[in-house]
Symmetry: C2
Subunit: 228 residues, 2 copies
DNA sequence: CAGTGTGATTTTTGATCATATTCTGGACGA
DNA sequence: TCGTCCAGAATATGATCAAAAATCACACTG
């Protein structure tokens, strides 16, 4: 999964050099991560072949990768769908995100160059704009980009990879929450993170990250299966 | 009822229900996990098609899954190989395994039924036999089975999945270590784990698990690139 | 004359597709 | 309600195309 692919959110890109299965994977991944596919939604190979205008083999390989990522589930029979998060799952995700992302943030605090902090801050300003405009898609993309880029600077590829997987699990549900409650209910902990990074204060960064993670995941929990 | 003739190479087991790509995946996974493929070794699709007597598509899908698992790496050009562990990777693995597996063990301590503890103990006795006989393959398989089965009883599928992935990363290197130093250098911490499980003492189990993890990973670290 | 580097050719391997086969789930009739 | 049958989707194969690596030949340099 560690593809040298740091582009910002590019909906339509030439990218002719990447093999088809890689392109399909990244497009599908983004769709799941940013909630364009709803939890529980069925995913069919032929539907994607048609929607993405690709061959069958690339779609098939992309789906296998995403199943392995936990971003899709294989329903036992030959059906594939976007998983629905259960309340217990959120507990696990909270534990895993807290430990992984706090450690990543801690490492990044001592390694990230000042220029990268500036870039993160610029990103966070865009994020504020997206929140102010109620731009849910932009909020999700920029928020992910912020965390993902921070993790890059931790110089810990295995941990970053694990953290990345976790986002795929709650992406669809987070979108549902945002769609229901809007973006204004997310006060921004990123400012504290940035402050800690500038001071190179690992404890401060880790604490801010823990709050950010907890806040986000509690939002997800609150939005699960509201009515039965 | 025409039985779809098994190509005679099959290990006889029922298993006819599993799709081919699943079988290929599990066989390849086991080979990596138990070190039958050496770190750095190249993996070719057509080589596997021949070796496993399977079609191209199942092999291809299995490889994609394993790349996503981190068990194989995509070499930028289109070559695939078994990754070689670096010293920095071991630090990350130690952190991730300690947090994940200790938490899993902690959860399992309060949930595992006594019968399952008995089964684990039986497994551990087989493990002792394997160690005494210097049976490296048996040791690796039984040790993995012990941890994997314990994780199952934590009732935390997401965390168990993360932990499972980590084993794939150091499996090949662990085999190298065992091949070099033999199995006798692994004093058995599993007894402490079992004792904690019987007492339902989560702290004890977690502590024993931490020691087991640390001990194993330090062995791996010691065996990395011994000479340059 | 031996060694080395460069370039083209050969060969292996991966990517993709079209197609045949198998299996699942639901409709239909008893 | 139950059993059978059928449509459609997924699985799996092999062929074809394209790309990269390995090989080798040859010329150039010391």
């Amino acid at each position: 999964m560690n593809v040298p692919n740091p582009p910002s959110v590019s909906p339509v890109e030439g990218a002719a050099k990447l093999p088809a299965h890689e392109q399909v994977y990244q497009r599908l991944r983004a769709q799941i991560l940013f909630g364009e596919l709803a939890p529980g939604q069925a995913v069919t190979i032929q539907g994607l072949v048609e929607a993405l205008d690709s061959g069958m083999t690339p779609v098939r390989e992309a789906i296998r990768r995403l199943i392995s990522d936990g971003a899709l589930v294989f329903q036992g029979n030959r059906r594939v769908s976007v998983p629905e998060l259960r309340a217990e799952d959120v507990d696990e995700l909270i534990f895993a995100r807290k430990t992984m992302e706090c450690e990543l943030a801690r490492r990044a605090a001592t390694r990230i160059p000042a220029s990268a902090v500036d870039a993160l801050e610029a990103l966070d300003l865009q994020l504020d704009v997206a929140i102010a405009n109620g731009d849910v898609a932009g909020y999700l993309a920029l928020n992910y980009e912020f965390h993902s880029r921070l993790n890059t600077h931790a110089d810990a590829p295995i941990l970053a990879d694990l953290a990345d997987r976790l986002w795929l699990r709650f992406g669809p549900s987070l979108r549902v929450v945002c769609g229901r409650f809007g973006t204004q209910s997310f006060p921004d902990r990123h400012k504290d993170i940035l402050e800690g990074l500038r001071k190179k204060d690992a404890d401060l960064v880790a604490l801010a990250m823990e709050r950010d993670v907890l806040q986000g995941m509690e939002q997800v929990r609150a939005g699960l299966t509201p009515i039965n």
